[in-house]
Amino acid sequence: MAGAVTSHLSHEAAKRPKHITESPIVKWVLISIALLFLALVVLLPLISVFIEAFKQGMSVYWASITDPDAVSALKLTLMTALIAVPLNTIFGIAAAWAITKFSFRGKNLLITLIDLPFSISPVISGLIFVLLFGAQGWFGPWLDDHNIQILFALPGIVLATTFVTFPFVARELIPLMQAQGVHEEEAAASLGAKGWQIFWRVTLPNIKWGLLYGIILCNARAMGEFGAVSVVSGHIRGETNTLPLHVEILYNEYQFSASFAVASLLVFLAVITLIVKSIVEWRTSIVQAGKEGEQADAH
């Protein structure tokens, strides 16, 4: 306790002896370098999207995002996310439950395998589905005979997107549930709660913020995936074009304002993702501070 109190106090201390911390010059130089770097690398591209999008005025912007091809790309993107995100959410919860609540052999291997899609180039993620379902692929001829279209159609796009966003929810949940341990669930089980009851009433309330963040991240990536979808989509305008692909097509056709207008929709998505992330982090820090407070009181 003594240590906790004093260290808390010295954090608050505005005035630190000069030989312990950096001089103000060093401090402000470092802050300037960091801010300049972030402005140049991250902020500038963000701003440029909006400036380019509105360069030719509001009416061009509006026309670009209400263009039938853009609307159909938006619909396809939403549809894809609507299938891929729930699938990966269910998977993420199941995987996190198995990995964090039980011990079994090969657990570390399983975690590594779940992370695998992260370390694979998006182009390869698309390629593997071409190899499976393409005309020369394993199932190609069979699908052709039965007149089932997977590649260059919605199923292919959904598959590639699901593959790419596969680890997101699981990755958020595993460390969180690992830290929380199994005591609460075991207590609930000892009080007679059954399987789903334990999950809904004990586990879910504990992980809801982390889960939400995982879903949001998964969704952002699902809507924004470019490389993998580019390989399997076939770029058919109005049919198999997602929003990012539509940005590319417009850009390659030198319709820059239209391209950036569509891109700005995706930037909104990214900004919303970041806002939700900040809220989630803020919430979890409050919960954690509360828990630490309880522990301190218990001492």
């Binding site: 306790m1 003594a2 240590g3 109190v5 004093t6 106090l9 010295s10 608050e12 201390a13 005035k15 630190r16 002896p17 000069k18 030989h19 312990i20």
Partner: protein, 354 residues
């Protein structure tokens, strides 16, 4: 004087962590800085080290004002509560760190580290890393590391707090002997009065940022200067109205003064067991605690609650038993003074009442 503080204060926002503290310490003394958690002990230690700057006041080491001397140059060794060992360095490199900073020669470093490894009983562990050591061993490394550059003053912040109760006692004795061998002036912070009493040559008692008392353990115990010191060091009960105690109505006790009674000031038992039955009052046993070597009785005498010790050899008492209670003496604490007052009935055993 070796170490001197004059009027040192430090506030964080509106919180007074250290409030106008002055004291002086002689060379070679082992000082226990004792007080409740959050009372400003650690801040005081950190101000001495130069890790915090005081808002006002003066710090002198060997007569020289060091307020503006960098902590790196003060010649102070510091042992942190969590040891703060360098995780990526071996025991040897940890101990050698201060010497390499001072650009000592390789041979010099080796001989000094060897000497400290020997002294701290860490020989054979020099290639290990902190995570491969027990808590007690880590503490020894922290100690050796702080001593390596031959500091003039050693500061230890709760040096035993993170160690198991069992090992703690051994380490205390070890540390006291070691510091005596080296003869270095040392100040250690603790909130455990047993630890301070057992280890320290002299104690500084700090509460709410204020220095309450400085003195040897015996002085602090037998002549507490404030109600806080009396109640913090050793066992005692505080009496709001000491003049109301049997016999003390005849003593000159200033109005509003508080009385402090330690268990060994109180004799309680059947009337025939009391040395001076005529001076004793009637009381009731409330509770009886077994304390290993003796029994502790909680008594009520009129409205007052008292604690007394009772030998295991004497016949046992039960809660509810009527007993005679003789209060040999009390401390009387007025605003600025603390005096020991003997029970007047003991000095004048001819009771007027008979």
């Amino acid at each position: 004087m070796h170490i001197e503080l004059k009027g040192v204060s430090k506030t964080y926002g509106s919180f007074k962590a250290v409030d106008n503290v002055s004291f002086a310490i002689e060379r070679g003394k082992l000082i226990g800085l004792l007080g409740p958690s959050g009372g400003g002990k650690s801040t005081l230690l950190r101000i001495l080290a130069g890790l915090e700057t005081p808002d006002s006041g003066e710090i002198r080491i060997n007569g020289k004002r060091v307020n503006d001397v960098a902590p790196q140059e003060r010649g102070i060794g510091f042992v942190f509560q969590n040891y703060a060992l360098f995780k990526h360095m071996s025991v040897y490199d940890n101990i050698a760190f201060g010497l390499t900073i001072r650009k000592a020669s390789k041979a010099e470093i080796k001989s000094r580290v060897d000497e400290l490894l020997e002294l701290t009983g860490l020989r054979g562990f020099e290639k290990r890393y902190p995570h491969q050591l027990s808590g007690g061993q880590r503490q020894r490394v922290a100690f050796a590391r702080a001593l390596a550059p031959r500091p003039d003053l050693l500061l230890l912040d709760e040096p035993f707090a993170a160690i198991d109760a069992k090992v703690r006692k051994e380490l205390r004795t070890w540390l006291k002997q070691l510091i005596a061998t080296i003869g270095i002036t040392s100040i250690f912070v603790t909130h455990d009065q047993d630890e301070a009493v057992e280890v320290a040559d002299e104690m500084l008692i700090v509460q709410q940022g204020k220095l309450e008392q400085q003195g040897t353990p015996v002085e602090v115990y037998t002549q507490p200067k404030s109600a806080f010191v009396a109640s913090f060091v050793g066992h005692s009960t505080i009496i709001d109205d000491p003049a109301g105690l049997h016999g003390f109505d005849q003593a000159a006790i200033p109005a509003g003064a508080k009385g402090i009674i330690r268990p060994d000031f109180v004799e309680a038992g059947r009337a025939d067991e009391i040395s001076l039955p005529s001076a004793a009052a009637k009381g009731t046993v409330k509770r009886v605690f077994f304390r290993g070597t003796h029994l502790e009785l909680e008594l009520t005498v009129r409205a007052n609650r008292l604690i007394a010790n009772r030998s295991l050899d004497q016949p046992p008492l039960q809660p509810g038993d009527e007993v005679s209670v003789l209060i040999h003496r009390i401390y009387v604490l007025a605003e600025q003074s603390a005096v020991m007052v003997e029970n007047p009935l003991k000095l004048d055993p001819l009771p007027v009442h008979i």
